[in-house]
Symmetry: C2
Subunit: 358 residues, 2 copies
């Protein structure tokens, strides 16, 4: 039996002004096909699992719109974190729900806001991962063959080749490494021994909980208390109390970097974590002037710009390498290489009587 | 007796998207004080003439909003050109209306969309100009002492000093010269013999009509036909027929460059013809980062930008030397040194199903 866990609690500040406190990236359509990122994520795994085995972990604020966007996913499978505690508690929460039905069930853990190019290869790799993960203790991570010396991602250093399942190579993982500087990223790229860490994992729910018991005993204890209180009178009370106590720790740091039976399957299916507005030109492509435009745009001498309109006419003259995003109550004009400063901007907006625009 | 003629038929395309086909620059408030350019023009001459002696020449489309913006100017003083024919027919039309009341009346002819800094000096110079213009045949032009080697203006080459009236020097005009290239503009600036042609003139209505009779006889003949038909049954018919026949000629070309008794009074009262968005930083000044902003703007690393908001939040990050203008149905983002391409842009808008934004 296979379950899919989709992590959908992210705030997506980097896509302001289109993403908002109440409407983060995973709930937006950014690729021009009208489907939101989370809808595309569910659509991709439809051949793998039934809707009743798809779990979404999110927060109270996003749960209604997620139910609305994913009407086929049972409401009881939308798991609500009372507070965001990074990926380890998020995955732990899904694991106890799935284990309470069937501890042998293999969990495919996916982010809700990534872009996948070749869906067939993606599913083929997940299937090989599921095969591997059927063995107790095995945790499989999907790594992405790097296309350039990216400093914005963590990397997975491969060990020896372990197996080959349906044309997909399986490697032992040597180690997980943090986001490198450019020099290191270039070394990683040329060595051929490193993959981008995509944040996608496959393992049995029992394996995940056993690993947590070994490497994150506090988290595991809390999760067991939550599990034991399920369907009891004090379920909600125990859940809130225990979850609030959890440390904010990523699954990479808490489990992956320590567990022993960790494997990686490399994929080159065209992957993007859509980390900022500048990702859009990779995803949507550019026109002859290097522009990526959506909406009602009229341009003269405009090059390398990403422009997202919102009905209203946007006219550009003589500008280069800008990100322009228009929404009903806010317009962003940002140098393409300064998108990371949007977070700084949001602080300034917070302090400038524009709270409603957040 | 003194009359003021304000030319207000200009289309002001260069201030798109704030200026529109139906709302050109002279009817907009661009300086942040809430008053429109034409209101400021009238306000400046209030000490010189009564409202009943202020004439506005414009077109059918703008006349209602001009009446609305200038409730004290008698409606019958708002003269409507059936078609725009440059400044000579415009001034001729005003001249016959004024001459029909009093040919000895001195006309002060002003554009409707210029900025004046020192209003006292401005009025003092106009008064000296009026004194000079009381003599038959004298035409006085107000020239601006150049502040830099501007290639966007025509110049007036001064001849000998002719007179001094109330501390204002009056020079014979040697000649009018067209917009120069940069090299020539620099020569003009250093020579000290040249003034910017501001397009402001003072002369009696009889002098103007006599000059037209001499140098633009076709125009004069048509104007006389229009004047003769005033208050007759065929007034409208004659007016339309004659006006439509007029050549499109500027007063500079048609009269000033040829007439003999042409004088100039230099002014350094702080003048700007507000020719494009980039004028705004000269007029409104800049903040410590060189920005000129109006509206709800939040900026990070933004330098040398002119930003005009419209209620909605505009956020900028890492941009330089941009003009950003937001209106209800269109947003312009333009390199500051490319404002002249707005006209090109409007053609493109015309061809892109956005007619309503013109």
């Amino acid at each position: 039996m296979v379950s899919v866990v989709i992590m959908a609690g992210g705030r997506g500040e980097r896509f302001w002004p289109k993403s908002r406190k109440k409407l983060p990236k995973q709930l937006l359509s950014l690729t021009g096909d009208g489907k939101t990122m989370i809808q595309l994520t569910v659509e991709r795994v439809k051949s793998l699992v039934e809707y009743k085995n798809i779990y979404i972990v999110t927060n109270e604020e996003f749960s209604d719109i997620i139910s609305y966007q994913l009407p086929d996913v049972p409401t009881e499978n939308i798991l609500i974190e009372p507070v965001s505690k990074n990926t380890a508690p998020c995955i732990g929460l899904a694991a106890i729900h799935i284990a309470s039905k069937n501890p042998e069930s293999v969990m495919v853990i996916l982010p809700s806001d990534h872009i996948i190019g070749d869906k067939h290869q993606f599913i083929s790799i997940l299937k090989s991962g599921i095969d591997m993960a059927k063995n107790d203790g095995n945790i499989v991570t999907i790594g992405i063959t790097p296309e350039h010396a990216e400093t914005g991602y963590g990397y997975i250093k491969l060990g020896d080749k372990y197996n080959e399942i349906k044309n997909n190579c399986v490697f032992k993982v040597d180690k997980f490494v943090e986001k490198p500087n450019l020099e290191k990223a270039e070394q990683y790229l040329t060595s051929g021994d490193y993959l981008w860490n995509s944040g996608m994992f496959v393992c049995k729910s029992s394996t995940m909980l056993n690993s947590m018991s070994k490497y994150m005993p506090e988290l595991h204890k809390g999760l067991m208390n939550i599990k034991d209180a399920m369907n009891e009178d004090n379920e909600e009370e125990v859940f809130l109390e225990e979850f609030n106590k959890f440390d904010s720790i990523s699954i990479d740091y808490g489990i992956m970097e320590q567990a022993e039976q960790v494997y990686a399957i490399p994929g080159d299916f065209g992957w993007d974590d859509v980390g900022s507005w500048s990702s859009l030109e990779r995803i949507s492509g550019t026109d002859i002037d290097g522009n990526t435009v959506m909406g009602n745009i009229v341009s003269i001498d405009t090059k390398g710009c990403i422009i997202q309109g919102n009905g209203k006419l946007i006219a550009t003259i003589g500008v280069e390498n800008l990100v322009v995003v228009d929404t009903e109550d806010a317009t962003l004009i940002c140098a393409k290489d300064k998108c990371q400063d949007i977070k700084k901007l949001l602080n300034q907006i917070r302090n400038s009587n524009n709270e409603s625009c957040l």
